[in-house]
């Protein structure tokens, strides 16, 4: 199929075929319509034929009457025709000749003008009634005389032709159709076609339907093949299709109108010419007339087909609208306008911000001023102009405000640490766009720095973890061998003292390493937290249970204040235990012995607040912020156990679980406040 689509020969053949089919179908349709209208399907043949022939004879009869009035030599003119004629003024229609098939009689009226004689004067007709014999039709009886009156006042000049008297003449023309057609005229032609049409009246229906369906098939093929050429995958435009569509439409219309006008003018003159030529050419004239109509129809069809096929190709290739002249002109104009706008814009952009603002405000003021001045003369358009100005300015100001909001949001995002959020600067002109981009760059730079920081933190953690592993192995040997020495039960008391120092310091070293690893992991966020709904009261009880002996050992009395109703938070129970563990451990180490330790849990707004309060053993001449720093301890001597990492770990772990740890020092009163958002 695609091969046939591309074949030029197939297309030409199809076009030719479609013309043939069109003509055939048209003839068949005309035949069917004619037979239907003239009773070919309902009456007998005679009735069908006669009704048609009668109308032709009647047309001839009027023509004969016309010719008779004009004084044409009838015998000579209608010698070649297939009828006899009788003209009478008394209504006689008898004609006793053989070979007559049928007759048509018409009664007709004619006007005859009276011609003024040279010696006659118009006023002779004043109030005068007369019978005037028509000068040229001597044989015709005058049946009526027109009365015409000239008023004396009107008589200022000789009467014109219009003023001449008119006579009405009535007479009868009867035509008799010859049974044997021996001449070529409309009758013989009609008889041939009538016979043919009657013969074909049923076949014509079939032919019409067949022709129509074949025609549609051929047209479908032509339209689907339109634009396809040999050796090309898709539909393509040929040189005709490249003509802009609107221009092409105009050309086609012009050609069609031109050809139609020309042919119709020619046919019209041909039609009337048969009055002025001798009768021998009449038949050719008539045949020529019909042939002309047919040829014109075919030409119109071909123009329409060509236009349609080109249209189909354009639709297939696409860009029907784009390939019009009007579109191109509009696009060209739009480009010019855009270029002008761009030039103005770039000029505006190169001006610094403040002068630009001044310039814009001045420009607006100038326009307002000019319009105001104009209104002093014109009067009452001021309100409308004011409204128009506001209608333009308000969206503009809103637009600027919206861009400012975007920039503000971007700035806030950076301030809040959401560095991934970027300001969309695509639709921001000039200075706004530049500002937005600058903000984005700041965000990028900060993000980069933060990433670097995180990376180095992680590397540090990794290093600490690895080093601590390596330290642990020799430490194991130290612990073990110190224990073995102890087992040897040395005699000297000093020896035993030294061994206990070694033991204590080894334990401290172990604790230090473990805390160090935990602190670095907690602060760099490499620790995993599994958040779940936790009841804080239960955790506090569990923690206190763990610490009861240790507290008692130091003479510390816990005073616990936990509300009756349970308070839930979102946290990782294991990590939160480590927080409380560290805080209580701190209390055991640094609280003044034989004092009370206050531990309370309360709900303040939407937060669960856990407070640990104790009296410090040593004076705390250090700020709470410093206390939270790594390796900082309340006692400067560093001699007691502990790594100085407890509070730092506690804070990092709390923050990992989205909680908050605050320390407060009030004289000797030390307070650690842990708070979390509550959940239901």
């Amino acid at each position: 199929m695609s091969k046939i689509k591309c074949s030029l020969f197939a297309k030409v053949t199809a076009i030719f075929l479609s013309v043939l089919l069109l003509v055939g179908t048209a003839l068949s349709v005309i035949c069917v319509i004619f037979c239907g209208a003239a009773g070919g399907y309902t009456g007998e043949y005679t009735y069908f034929r006669n009704s048609a022939m009668e109308s032709i004879l009647r047309a001839y009869a009027y023509e004969v009457a016309d010719a008779y009035e004009n004084g044409v030599d009838l015998a000579e003119r209608y010698a070649g025709n297939n009828f006899y004629y009788v003209i009478s003024k008394d209504g006689t229609t008898n004609y006793n000749k053989e070979g007559i098939r049928r007759s048509v009689t018409i009664h007709t009226t004619s006007y005859v003008d009276y011609t003024l004689q040279e010696d006659e004067t118009p006023w002779q007709y004043y109030n005068y009634t007369t019978e005037v014999a028509p000068p040229t039709l001597a044989t015709t009886a005058v049946e009526e005389v027109e009365y015409f009156i000239f008023s004396p006042s009107m008589v200022t000049q000789a009467p014109t032709e219009e003023d001449t008297p008119r006579f009405t003449v009535e007479y009868t023309v009867t035509l008799y159709e010859k049974a044997e057609k021996d001449g070529d005229d409309l009758l013989s032609l009609a008889e041939f076609w009538l016979d043919l049409a009657y013969e074909m009246r049923y076949a014509a229906i079939l032919l019409a339907l067949l022709g129509l369906s074949l025609l549609i098939f051929v047209l479908v093929f032509l339209f689907s093949a339109a634009g396809h050429h040999r050796g090309e995958e898709k539909a393509n435009l040929n040189y005709v299709d490249r003509i802009p569509f609107d221009l092409y439409t105009a050309i086609c219309a012009a050609i069609a109108v031109g050809i139609n006008a020309l042919v119709l003018f020619f046919l019209e003159s041909l039609y009337y010419s048969r009055y002025y030529h001798d009768i021998s050419s009449e038949f050719i004239t008539i045949v020529g007339f019909f042939a002309g109509i047919a040829v014109l129809a075919v030409i119109d069809y071909l123009i329409l087909l060509g236009y349609g096929l080109s249209f189909a190709t354009r639709v297939k290739v696409g860009g029907l609208i784009r390939r019009t002249l009007i579109f191109r002109i509009l696009a060209f104009l739009a480009r010019i306008l855009a270029a002008i706008g761009k030039a103005i814009w770039s000029m505006l952009r190169s001006i610094p911000l403040i002068p630009k603002t001044v310039l814009i405000v001045l420009g607006i003021s100038l326009i307002e001023f000019v319009l105001l001045l104009a209104n002093l003369w014109e009067g009452d358009n001021l309100l409308i102009l004011w409204l128009v100005e506001k209608a333009i300015l308000i969206p503009l100001i809103l637009w600027i405000a919206m861009m400012l909001r975007k920039l503000k949001k971007g700035g806030e995002a950076i301030a809040a640490g959401r560095l991934q959020e970027k300001i969309d600067t695509r639709r921001m002109p000039a200075d706004f766009g530049k500002f937005g981009q600058t903000l984005n760059h700041i965000g990028d730079g900060l993000g980069h720095a933060v990433d670097e920081r995180m990376k180095s933190e992680r590397m540090k953690t990794e290093l600490i973890t690895n080093v601590s592993h390596d330290i642990k192995t020799p430490l194991t040997s130290i612990v073990n061998y110190v224990d073995l020495i102890k087992k040897e039960e040395p005699e000297s008391e000093t020896m035993r003292q030294y061994i206990s120092v070694l033991e204590r310091q080894a334990a401290r070293l172990k604790k230090l390493i473990e805390d160090l690893v935990e602190a670095s992991k907690a602060s760099s966020g490499t620790l995993s937290v599994e958040m779940a709904r936790c009841e804080v009261g239960v955790l506090l009880e569990q923690t206190l249970g763990e610490y009861e002996d240790k507290l008692t050992e130091k003479g510390l009395t816990p005073v616990v204040n936990v509300p009756e109703e349970p308070i839930f938070i979102l946290a990782d129970g294991r990590r939160l235990w480590r927080v409380f563990d560290n805080l209580l451990n701190n209390i055991c180490k640094y609280a003044q012995p034989d004092t009370r330790v206050y531990i309370s849990l309360e709900r303040i707004g939407h937060r669960a607040v856990i407070t640990f309060r104790n009296i410090s053993k040593d004076p705390l001449n250090i700020s709470s912020d410093e206390l939270m720093e790594r390796f900082v301890r309340g006692d400067s001597s560093r001699n007691t156990e502990g790594s100085g990492l407890g509070l730092s770990i506690a804070r990092s772990l709390t923050e990992l679980q989205n909680g908050h740890l605050a320390l407060s020092i009030d004289g000797d009163l030390f307070k650690a406040i842990v708070s979390f958002e509550t959940v239901e």
Binding site: S477, N480, L544, E546
Partner: protein, 230 residues
């Protein structure tokens, strides 16, 4: 007595452990890589393996994996890694227990003894057939005699501790909140008195666990309650 294989790339640690284990009357074998350990295991009748994780040639994890293909000899891992994930990995591939470095020699001996008792006396992990006793892991509770054994060793408990342990052992794996434990054991409404539960639990843990800070059986589920590990 029993044959114990010690495998660690650090020779001082191996000899220290040998000294302690000899003192307890065990026979020891030393290996310094995973490969050596596997060779000795094939040749000798070993009853327990102390295995370091980080070693050259073949590390503890791969040695343990290949060992478990043919033997269920008790294995205690010696590890410098204190990460929870490392412990879980070790237990998952078939270790029976673990000790983190730097370890306390007394703790190691206790764990060795406990593992050997379970392995040898209870017949290599086979469940005991006593009907009146309830056993979870290494803990056996005989309700008729009101006696508790941890790894075969009799434990002396107070009546309250005994009741708490009984409650927890009746449904292993289930987490009991302090309030629930108080209500079931004291048979009283827990009006703020459930704080004592935590103290009792800690005492109980100190009695039945080798290292109460890292319990194997009686576990603390922080912010929720307590349970006996299945």
């Amino acid at each position: 007595m029993y044959n114990i294989l010690i495998c660690d790339d650090e020779k001082d640690i191996v000899s220290a452990l040998e000294i302690y284990l000899h003192a307890e009357g065990y026979t020891t074998f030393a290996a310094y890589t995973g490969k050596q350990a596997l060779e000795i295991l094939k040749k000798e009748d070993i009853h327990l393996l102390l295995l370091d994780i980080m070693m050259p040639e073949m590390d503890g994890i791969s040695a343990l994996t290949s060992l478990r293909a043919y033997s269920n000899v008790p294995v205690i891992l010696l590890t410098a890694k204190s990460e929870d994930t490392d412990k879980v990995l070790g237990l998952n591939i078939g270790a029976d227990d673990y000790v983190t470095k730097p370890f306390n020699p007394v703790e190691v001996i206790a764990r060795v003894r406990s593992q050997l008792r379970r392995y040898m006396q209870l017949g290599g992990g086979q469940a005991p057939a006593e009907s009146s006793a309830c056993t979870v892991g290494g803990i056996t509770l005989d309700d008729r005699a009101k006696e508790v054994f941890a790894d075969g060793e009799k434990i002396n408990l107070t009546p309250t501790e005994y009741e708490i342990l009984k409650l927890l052992m009746q449904s292993p794996g289930e987490v009991f909140s302090p309030k629930e434990i108080y209500r079931r054991v004291w048979k009283n409404a827990p009006y703020g008195a459930e704080g004592t539960v935590a103290v009792h639990i800690r005492h109980l843990r100190e009695k039945i666990e080798i290292n109460p800070a890292e319990p194997r059986y009686l576990k603390v589920v922080w912010a929720q309650g307590y349970k006996i590990e299945k």
